[in-house]
């Protein structure tokens, strides 16, 4: 056992007595299908059932999603997520108000799973969740930011699990993205209001549950996949960026695009550079989700 500056960490890296964000504090937004902060007393997700379009909130049993109650509510049909609640305490909930664009949690009476644990399935056609206030939190010049995401890509198509962007501007080109995929690479980039872009990429895409982290003090960016460094302090200094939204599952500009085709279980966003603690944080998530890398 190691006594770290971030709490007591087990020899395997897992937290013994506290949840993930009890140890790694200060997140701006935190979405998970597990309970990840002890002080959070709200629900996990709100679900619409296909049988009659009724909606209901669902929370946790211990620290796991209350799947039994969701299955009872949805029955043999499909269950779609209208709201993924923010566990950070800041109430930056992710929502989708259009029925046909809501990600799925129940598919024909069965929980959607990734590595045997509940996951949201985005169809890669038009599904996404969005918060229209959180993006402005990260607007400006070289704002520090760190993002942790647990994804499962399904196919090689332009696919964005998380983006920050601005809707309906004259250029519509501002965005900040961490580790999406195109047809052959993972990519990360920033683009400013006038279209100046700093884009970086790495290979090779695979199609299993995977943990992506990105840390940035503002002008440089480092990304990691499954605990392995992929981009190290690459230049992302493009000056001032105007942002309004943070979107899960798409890039929301004048026209939403680059829809995520895959599954998602956890996304945590910090307005700070978390490079110094990213490795133990990754190891805790690895343990929580029984990942094998």
């Amino acid at each position: 056992m190691i006594l770290s500056t971030h709490g007591i960490i087990g020899s395997s890296g897992g937290s013994i007595s506290s949840l993930l964000l009890d140890t790694y504090t200060g997140s701006s937004a935190a979405y998970s299908l597990k309970k990840i902060r002890t002080a959070y007393s709200g629900n996990a997700i709100r679900v619409r059932r296909s049988s009659d379009n009724a909606e209901q909130d669902f929370g946790f049993v211990a620290s796991a999603l209350d799947t039994a109650s969701i299955l009872t509510f949805v029955g043999g049909g499909n269950g779609f997520v209208t709201t993924w609640y923010d566990q950070s305490g800041n109430s930056y909930n992710q929502t989708q108000s259009n029925a046909t664009q809501q990600p799925k949690i129940i598919d024909s009476g069965s929980i959607v799973l990734s590595n045997s644990l509940p996951a949201l399935k985005f169809d890669g056609s038009d599904d996404f969740l969005v918060n229209m206030a959180l993006g402005s939190f990260f607007a400006g010049t070289n704002v520090a930011c760190s993002i942790v995401g647990l994804y499962d890509f399904s196919v090689t198509q332009s696919s964005t699990p998380i983006s920050m962007a601005k809707i309906a501007t004259s250029t519509g080109l501002e965005q900040l993205i961490f580790n999406g995929i195109d047809t052959s690479n993972y990519y990360s980039y920033k683009r400013d209001n006038s279209g100046t872009i700093k884009s970086h990429q790495f290979t090779s895409i695979d199609f299993i549950q995977q943990l992506h982290t990105a840390t940035s003090a503002g002008s440089t960016l480092s990304t990691r996949k499954n605990g392995v460094a992929k981009l190290n302090n690459v230049d992302v200094n493009v000056g001032n960026i105007s942002l309004d939204n943070v979107t899960l599952g798409a890039l929301s500009r004048n026209t939403s695009s680059s829809f995520f085709n895959g599954k998602m279980q956890e996304v945590i966003i910090f307005k700070s550079d978390q490079a110094s603690i990213i490795s133990p944080l990754e190891n805790t998530i690895k343990t929580n989700y029984s990942m094998t890398w």
């Binding site: 709100r46 619409r48 379009n53 909606e55 209208t82 709201t83 929502t95 989708q96 108000s97 259009n98 029925a99 046909t100 664009q101 809501q102 056609s125 038009d126 332009s158 964005t160 519509g172 080109l173 965005q175 993205i177 999406g180 195109d182 990519y187 980039y189 872009i197 884009s199 990429q201 890039l251 500009r253 004048n254 026209t255 939403s256 695009s257 680059s258």
Partner: protein, 73 residues
């Protein structure tokens, strides 16, 4: 893209309303406000609704058309 194209926002809203009515929207105390959304393609200058099997009987057979997206990386 498989879906439906509209020249004006009024036509797109009318189609959205048809889908809402057929599926019982609007509902009270519901996060879901509409059955489908429409989008404006800035570079093509038209409105469109992405196809979903649930709206075939409401809006008819969909079209196949191209939407020009802004560069993403």
């Amino acid at each position: 893209m498989v879906g439906y194209i509209f020249n004006t926002i009024e036509e797109a809203i009318d189609a959205q309303n048809l889908c809402d009515t057929a599926n019982g929207y609007p509902k009270n105390d519901s996060v879901t406000k509409n059955w489908v959304s429409y989008q404006f393609s800035n570079l093509d200058n038209f409105y469109f609704i992405t196809f979903d099997e649930s709206i075939r009987e409401i809006l008819g057979e969909p079209l196949i058309f191209d939407v020009t997206y802004e560069a993403f990386n």
